[in-house]
């Protein structure tokens, strides 16, 4: 272990250097206070210092004070060396921050034991530091809102090096945490700690990664008064962003599943009556045509008004035609609903994505029809794509709904309509789906964040900020594809999804 020996007297330099080496320490000699301070404040500098009180220039007492006020990332154990034996001097030395005190002439036995005591303190500190460093949760200590200590995990959560965090205001990492703390009642003092301790149950607060990414944190705070009556706030920080995303997705998935089940049931119930309405309509159409033939061969009754008959002859087939058209439309929606809500296989199956997109746009029609027309341009020769059908449909649905909202923001209540255009094509070894809208566009400044969970620009009730995050996770993680966007503020957005065709081509 390195020991700094700050002493300008040659006799003590020689004597102490020799004994320290003999005891297995690694002495580092400083001839004056400034040199001592340089050594102690350097990162790999000694952690134990023997400082002579009287030195030219910066004396030992001043070095002590500097070490204590500098908030070094490591503790420095200081033994003050002096010929002064007065009790007041001793008090002054300890008040300046010395841990121990050794009188001249130096009793080497005494020194060796005092050094061992110092080593014990440092070892104990080292053990606690080690626990803090291996913890996967962030552990930070703050004084007046500024970070005095932070373990590696804090750095990893927020994207900083551990040393960069020292001195940083915690509110920069978790804006508004103090207001949140005020709202939550502190628990009474922990029974095994002193009375000066207040702790809070874990609270959920938002954090900010260095990159600007939103974080969702679960933090336990504990406030205590240290020996110098300074208030120290300790925080145990857990990054719950991923967990919250998964929870959000699970809730969303469950909601969709129950809606899906309901829809499948309703679709099934509607299907049967629709079928006999359709069949009967067709029967009436045929029957009326035959009836008309029969009617034509009859001679008109003298004096009767033919105009009624003529009117009915013209209008009834039209009415039946519209009836059949309507029924066909309903039948298609019901079929699309059934297909969309079908839970689908748990592993990827070849999917006709053109058809899937058609179904999805049909069932989401209510979302867009008042603000936009939806046009499609599907590549007819597109191979089936290995897909989780249900999740793929959800991605398309999310994009269509987003597109409709973006266009809605532009057209408002004006009655004008924008265009949602969906196209598919083969792009190398992938299928490419482009969903374009003529909406507001996405400002460049936030483009990098739109796939972040909970990031939303929509008002309350319009979106949870999950849609694009889910789309991203489905496309990228579950299908090995990519999702990106081409957009500029004011001229609409195009989302471009590419899903590899690869496996299906091998499998087929």
């Amino acid at each position: 272990m390195k020991i700094l020996l700050a002493e300008d007297d040659r006799v003590f330099q020689v004597l102490l250097q020799r004994v320290l080496v003999k005891w297995g320490y690694e002495p580092v000699i400083a001839g004056h206070g400034e040199e001592a301070w340089q050594q102690l404040s350097s990162e790999a500098g000694p952690r134990i210092a023997i400082l002579d009180w009287v030195m030219p220039g910066t004396d030992g007492l001043e070095v002590c004070r500097r070490v204590r006020s500098a908030n070094l990332p490591h503790y420095v154990y200081i033994i003050l060396l002096t010929g002064r034996k007065d009790a007041n001097d001793l008090v002054a030395g300890l008040a300046a921050g010395a841990d121990d005190y050794l009188a001249k002439p130096v009793n080497l036995d005494e020194l060796s034991h005092r050094l061992r005591a110092g080593c014990r303190v440092l070892e104990s500190e080292g053990r606690h530091r080690m626990f803090a460093e291996i913890a996967s949760d962030g552990i930070a200590m703050m004084e007046q809102g500024r970070i005095q200590f932070a373990n590696r995990a804090v750095g990893m959560i927020f994207g900083y090096g551990a040393h960069e965090l020292i001195g940083l205001a915690f509110s920069e990492l978790a804006p508004g945490f103090e207001r949140r703390l005020e709202k939550v009642n502190a628990r009474p003092a922990l029974s095994n700690l002193s009375d000066n301790v207040r702790s809070w149950p874990p609270i959920e607060i938002n954090g900010k990664h260095r990159s600007g990414r939103e974080l969702f944190l679960e933090v336990s705070f504990c406030e205590s008064m240290d020996s110098s009556h300074r208030t120290v706030l300790a925080a145990m920080i857990r990054d719950a962003t991923e967990r919250r995303v998964l929870e959000g997705q699970r809730v969303q998935a469950q909601k969709l599943e129950s809606i899906g089940q309901l829809a499948a049931g309703i679709a099934h119930e509607i299907n049967t009556p629709i079928q006999y309405i359709g069949d009967n309509g067709k029967f009436l159409e045929d029957a009326f045509r035959e009836l008309m033939g029969l009617l034509g061969s009859l001679r008109p009754t003298p004096g009767s008004d033919d105009t009624d008959i003529e009117y009915l002859k013209a209008e009834i087939p039209k009415a039946i035609g519209q009836l059949l058209q309507g029924v066909d439309h309903v039948a298609r929606i019901v079929r699309a609903m059934k297909e969309f809500s079908h839970p689908g296989p748990v592993d990827k199956q070849p999917l006709d994505i053109n058809h899937a997109i058609e179904c999805t746009s049909l069932i989401s029609k209510n979302e867009w029809k008042y603000v936009a027309d939806l046009t499609t341009d599907f590549a007819p020769d597109l191979l089936p794509v290995p897909c989780l059908a249900g999740e793929f449909n959800q991605v398309i649905l999310n994009l269509i709904v987003n597109a409709a909202h973006a266009i809605g923001d532009v057209v408002g209540q004006s009655g004008d309509k924008g265009i949602i255009h969906i196209s598919t094509r083969r792009h190398g070894t992938s299928a490419e789906i482009r969903v374009s809208d003529t909406g507001t566009g996405i400002p460049e400044a936030i483009q990098s964040r739109i796939f972040d969970p909970f990031f939303t620009t929509k008002g309350v009730g319009k979106g949870t900020g999950q849609g694009l995050a889910i789309a991203h996770s489905v496309v990228v993680q579950k299908h090995g594809g990519t999702i990106g966007l081409e957009s500029s503020s004011g001229s609409g957005t195009t989302f471009v999804i590419q899903i590899p065709l690869g496996c299906v081509m091998e499998e087929v």
Partner: protein
Amino acid sequence: MLLDLAMDGSPGLIAELIEAFRTDTQLRLKQVSRALEDGDQTSIRAAVHSIKGSAQQMGANAMSSMCLDIERTVGDLSAVQVSRRVKDLETEFEEVCHSMATFPVVPPDGPHGTICGSGG
């Protein structure tokens, strides 16, 4: 303890300490004479204080008490009186050096004390 050190792997230590004491003290005594000429009591006190520390550590107890005396009285005595005491200190230092040069022949309880490793 210092002797243990000398016997146990640090054979040159005693000689080195004596040399350090000799050169350091010579230097400080020069500072004292210069300060005497300038009438700078603070510097006299500081230099004598340093000499006292190492003298004590080396076991030169007579020297260290002479230092203490000067340190305490420098403000009250006349320049001539201080100068006489410094002269005495220089003489004592020469004698100590002479005795040390014959170490370890010097008996442990010799006239000027011994090198003090286990403190006093």
